[in-house]
Symmetry: C2
Subunit: 373 residues, 2 copies
């Protein structure tokens, strides 16, 4: 059995106001290509298919097209679960019909302990769940947390193990000991809701979703696939891709995806950033977090940088805020207001105030003084 493991598609996700649907479509096409080239027997999507419980109509159309393409057109069996971003109820729609074409979409804990068998492997599809749902299904009000529920669920799954088959768990949770970045919605940072990896030892492989980096967890047979697309600046340095997993003999291989529009951090001076020698070497259409190394004030900095780099998602000063800059700090705040203003104007614009500007300032100051007295 050879399968492809992906997760966290987050269809509908926006990045600082920019839609990611083209990037997601492109990543999908690459995933499909890998599935075809690697001749996988199934595609696993371990939760968070959508970014929101109530996705927009465009997102519904986009995910539906992908699922139809994979399952009905390209005939790949799909093993999918709902994640914490999905509405289990909404995502469930149609799933009673999907299984006829080997598209298995589990959205209820109660579905998780009955294996789905494909070739030499039993797959257990456990959607993201809240403790109350496990309590209800396991008829045990004493379960204190997700880990206790998980222990019981694994026991029930094991009771259905066929010893002649391999056993794969598909789930969506925070595994204890994994590293996460700020783009993941944290159910809980460690503590009660993090599930220890050792209770997953009965499985030959655990295909996880929830964390967006493939390296979030370091375990041979328990892996996050990570998201197919970068969703945050904190993911800028991650390599996105999917796992190709063979069950017999066991083997995992990471297949990277090439982003159409990368997320990158540029730490440079304004002069460098605006120099053609520099930007002609750049993919200026990437999503960029710019860390300016300058310490002086630059008028209209965002506007002028956006003319070269239209998809700036973040602009910061690499060396801290401009106002703690020495030149500005040099100005004595005890000076009279007009002198202070003139000095500040010169620091900011590198020009003296014109006679007219000085008259405007004096008039405004006079009015302001009148209002105070």
């Amino acid at each position: 059995m050879r399968f492809l493991h992906t997760a966290d598609w987050h269809i509908g996700k926006k990045l600082h106001g920019f839609g990611l649907n083209k990037e997601q479509d492109d990543a999908y096409k690459q995933i499909l290509n890998i599935a075809e080239t690697e001749k996988v027997d199934a595609i696993i999507i371990a939760g968070d298919l959508y970014d929101r419980a109530v996705p927009g109509e465009d997102s519904v159309k986009q995910l539906n097209s992908m699922l139809i393409d994979m399952n009905l057109k390209h005939k790949f069996p799909i093993l999918a679960i709902s994640g914490n971003h999905d509405s289990a109820t909404r995502l469930h729609t149609g799933s009673e019909w999907f299984s006829a074409t080997n598209f298995f979409l589990n959205t209820k804990v109660s579905q998780s302990t009955t294996p789905i068998e494909i070739a030499d492997t039993q797959f257990f599809l456990l959607p993201y769940f809240e403790p109350f749902e496990a309590k209800q299904y396991l008829q045990d009000d004493k379960l204190k947390n997700v880990t206790e529920a998980m222990v019981k669920l694994v026991e029930k799954m094991q009771a259905n193990f066929d010893p002649n088959k391999k056993h794969v768990l598909i789930a969506h949770f925070f595994a204890a000991g994994s590293e996460h970045v700020d783009s993941e919605t944290q159910v809980s940072v460690g503590g009660l809701n993090a599930i220890p990896v050792d209770i997953l030892s009965p499985f030959d492989y655990v295909a996880l979703g929830h964390l967006h980096g493939k390296d979030a967890l370091h375990a041979e047979k328990v892996k996050y696939s990570g998201s197919p697309v970068k969703f945050s600046i904190s993911e800028a340095n991650q390599t996105k891709g999917v796992w190709i997993v063979d069950t017999d003999p066991f083997k995992v291989e990471f297949k990277p995806l090439t982003p159409t529009k990368d997320i990158r951090i540029l730490t440079e001076s304004y002069e460098t950033l605006t120099s053609p020698d520099f930007y002609n070497q750049q993919n200026c259409n990437d999503f960029l977090s710019i860390q300016l190394t300058d310490s002086k004030i630059i008028p209209n900095v965002m506007q002028s940088l956006r003319e070269i780099y239209p998809y700036i998602i973040n602009l910061e000063r690499a060396n801290g805020p401009v106002l703690t800059d020495n030149k500005v700090a040099d100005i004595d705040p005890n000076l009279d207001p007009m002198t202070l203003l003139k000095k500040f104007f010169k620091e900011s614009t590198e020009e003296d105030m014109s006679e007219t500007q000085e008259k405007w300032a004096a008039d405004t100051l006079k009015t302001a003084n009148k209002e105070v007295n």
Copy 2:
């Protein structure tokens, strides 16, 4: 070919704040019973399956259960379309898989001209559509309105007619000449968006949705089924039900549904309404619009009536507002304020003001006068 024609289920609909899910579930069970008893070959649902484009999770669960029950459990072929209340995109989810079990759900105009054949009949499933969608599909920018689009669509359907079969159109629109009540969301009151019935003459039967009364249109072979449940006081006097249609020989028969909780108008005096002789003969748990025949003021009238009739959805005076009542009109507004108040108090409560009440009124009047001067 024998089929059941229903429409306008409006799952998720609320009536003056009261949920109707129980009534809808009960109507569904009756519809299923009729389908079984009448041994129909298919069930038609002519649009507005949901009440809203984004139905709540409870509504999604409810409609999904009904569809699963009808199609997967009871094996009835379903022929359904989206109505103006549905989001075509959302409702479309899963439909590529549904057809494998003879559940045909059309949400796009482009699907409407390809017939679905069951037994001796070709069904054309035309969802509710906006003119731009028809223009796009028909590649004709000159289409001025829905009727012009409809003429073209019918032509395209006719081109696919098998002369050896019967031809049934399933659609969701406002048919010119039909009568409608205020509970229906009007696409347009007559005029450009109303479709003349004569252009539908090529069909052996037209199963319409949109208007909620079965008698909205008087045509032998073009019928609204109406909604299975009353959704408004304006529907209080309608008989709800479904049509059973035979294609050969052609025959239509109306099968009424029994409401669990009816909507009724009670035009009675307060004395009658609160008399056990009267209310013990009533189904007090119906949704009631009460038209009080009294002309005098009744303190806390809604509160006291709700103790007997918990589901009052409307309370009005049958003979117009109380304040135009003769006794009140008799009071001369030129009297001094205290005399006026005393008279008004007596009219309202049928008692004189007590000494304390009179003192309070005098004090309040004094304060009020002070504030004016």
